[in-house]
Amino acid sequence: MGFEEIAHTADWALRVWADDLEKLFVEAARGMYALSGAQPALSEVEGQAEGAALNLSKGPKVKRTFEAEAQDAESLLVAFLSELVYAVEQEQLMFTSFQVGMSECSAGWRLEVEMAGAPIVSINKAIKAVTYHNLQIQQTARGYEVEIVFDV
């Protein structure tokens, strides 16, 4: 599993892959945070890194739950990442650990995420929105794979 930045003329785009859908969602979140300047090791080494573009406070962890239902997994991915965008902008919160559950429901798919994180001390780049541009979760040799374009 992993993520990499891919070329886009004006905005930011990521390719994300993982063994299953749950891990794909976590990897997408980590990739999106990385574009905002978070260090790749953010989830292991929390707290402030000298000179880093993004710093989190060392205080007690903030816990949140996110739930959504949608016709397809792509819509849930956009909803989940949009939730994280909102938390960064509005509450200056970034999450470092995720428990993701996906299940089928009458609407199609149901997503439940338990997440824990910390307030952002400093950040100098922000994702403003998560787009649906050519969004398609595909099964490949690497498991599940998706490309996501962000508005910055």
Binding site: T9, V78, Y86, Q90, I123, K125, Y132, H133, N134, D151
Partner: protein, 483 residues
């Protein structure tokens, strides 16, 4: 992949992708570009995205692409698409996340030479009064009922609260307030994002810039616009901030179901849309107009903040330090307008995504003083190069739904710009050329490096050769404030 062989050359600066190019196209794509500009965007997905845009139900005429085009998501940036009202569709992705992102130009009688000793102080004060950067709040925080008034009234809200003059309002597209705004269709979340951001610039390519009117190409029109060669002017580039982004996010999500409901097939999910006369289409139009009004008010407050900085720096030292509004135009918006299509007057929703309105002389939407000239068309160049003031023409009404280009247009990804350019070196280089830089982030500065953009002069030459605008004045930056 679309190549130059798929394009029909109409002239040296106009091309067409015929409707026959792909079975799902409903109209052709018309592109205003020189061959050089076209070749620059062949590597990215602009043309494919233009073809995708040409599949929307209810389109009339052609999808029109401006020479500053580049890859976006859904629509390419630099696109104009008109759908027939009311049965045609409105597409949030065809208007963009930063609803009513736009440019405001203010003119002054302050001579550059006289202002020179004070420009450092001015740049610093503008940076203080016009807050920019990620997560930075605006100059005021309003409660939700007050925010709802902003969403309904736009610049008129600013007028009532002493942040605008009637002259400012008259020289703003649509008088700074779109009819039909419905704040009830704006989510709580969008309102929360907006309530503390009024009077803030934001990040990305947004800026406040002090310019020198370097050359005047049409003295008569420039005088009417209030622009004098050798004097200072101010450009403000920003939009509806988090509020607009949330409105677009909400409706791109919500309309996913609408396209299934109305049986609309699309090549890209970002193009989701709904007929304008459907409940979903009406809800989005109401919310989008509310977000547009927020952006008009935001730029109005920023203009007021810029005026404060000018007063503090120049009052008592130089005469004529007051700033006068030249014009304020949107370049991400959907508007109901009447245009001539195939010899008939048709009411349409003009989606402008990275394209500005450019109404020609005699348009009833322009203030009396601009009736003879056509509207000011503001084309900011890349940071540190040059910007243009153009005027709309009769031809823009006939060829591009009264629209023109909105800037230089990127050619290089942000990642590559960051890799190739060091922010601190760029800053030194700009300072060496007499441009004062106040930037919150050096990597943000690097991403906006001039080499990441097309040559704005070539873009402007193209639209003028196509006669959809004519040159009035060229501006050169002397101070840049950005996040």
């Amino acid at each position: 992949m679309i190549g130059i062989q798929n394009l029909t050359k109409i002239s040296d600066h106009e091309w067409e992708i015929p409707q026959s190019f792909r079975a799902d196209m409903r109209v052709p794509v018309r592109i205003f570009a020189t061959q050089v500009l076209l070749e620059q965007i062949m590597d990215d997905k602009s043309l494919e995205q233009a073809v995708n845009a040409a599949t929307l139900p209810g389109l009339v005429g052609s999808v029109v692409i401006m020479p500053d085009m580049h890859q976006g998501y859904g629509f390419p940036i630099g696109a104009v698409a008109a759908t027939e009202f009311p049965q045609g569709v409105v597409s949030p992705g065809g208007i963009g996340y930063d609803i009513n992102c736009g440019i405001r130009l203010l003119a002054s009688d302050i001579e550059y030479e006289a202002a020179l000793p004070h420009l450092d102080a001015l740049a610093t004060l503008l940076n203080t009064y016009c807050p920019s950067g990620v997560g930075v709040e605006g100059v005021m925080r309003v409660n939700i009922p007050e925010l709802e008034r902003v969403l309904r009234e736009g610049s008129r809200w600013a007028l009532k609260n002493g942040y605008a003059t009637e002259a400012d309002i008259a020289r703003t597209e649509e008088g700074g307030c779109l009819d039909g705004a419905n704040s009830a269709k704006v989510s709580d979340r969008a309102k929360q994002r907006g309530r503390q951001q009024i009077g803030s610039v934001g990040a990305g390519n947004h800026f406040v810039e002090v310019d020198l009117v370097e050359s005047v190409l049409d003295p008569e029109t420039a005088t009417i616009f209030g622009l004098h060669q050798g004097c200072l002017a101010v450009q403000i580039h920003c939009g509806s901030r988090g509020l607009g982004h949330q409105v677009c996010t909400d409706y791109v999500q919500e309309l996913q179901a609408a396209v299934r409901h109305y049986g609309i097939e699309l090549p890209d999910r970002e193009l989701v849309c709904a007929p304008m006369d459907s409940p979903e289409g009406q809800a989005y139009l109401g919310a989008m107009r509310a977000a547009a009004n927020f952006a008009f008010a935001n730029r109005q407050i920023l203009a007021h903040s810029a005026q404060r900085a000018f007063e503090q720096v120049f009052a008592g030292k130089l005469k004529g330090w007051e700033l006068r509004q030249v014009y304020d135009i949107a370049h991400n918006m959907g508007k109901i307008e009447t245009h001539e299509v195939d010899g008939e007057r048709v009411k349409v929703c003009v989606h402008r995504k990275g394209a500005t309105r450019a109404f020609g002389p005699g348009s009833p939407d322009l203030p009396p003083e601009y009736q003879s000239t056509g509207q000011p068309v503001l084309v900011p160049g890349s940071m540190g190069t040059a910007s243009w003031v153009l005027a709309g023409t009769e031809m823009s009404m006939a060829r591009s739904f009264g629209s023109c280009c909105h800037g230089a247009g990127r050619t290089m990804s942000r990642a590559k710009a960051k890799h190739d350019v060091r922010g601190d070196e760029l800053r030194r280089e700009m300072e060496g050329r007499g441009i004062r830089v106040r930037a919150g982030s050096m990597s943000g500065l690097a991403e906006e490096a001039p080499k990441a953009y097309k040559d704005v002069d070539e873009v402007v030459e193209t639209v003028c050769a196509a006669e959809i605008a004519r040159k009035v004045a060229r501006l050169r930056p002397v101070a840049v404030v950005k996040g």
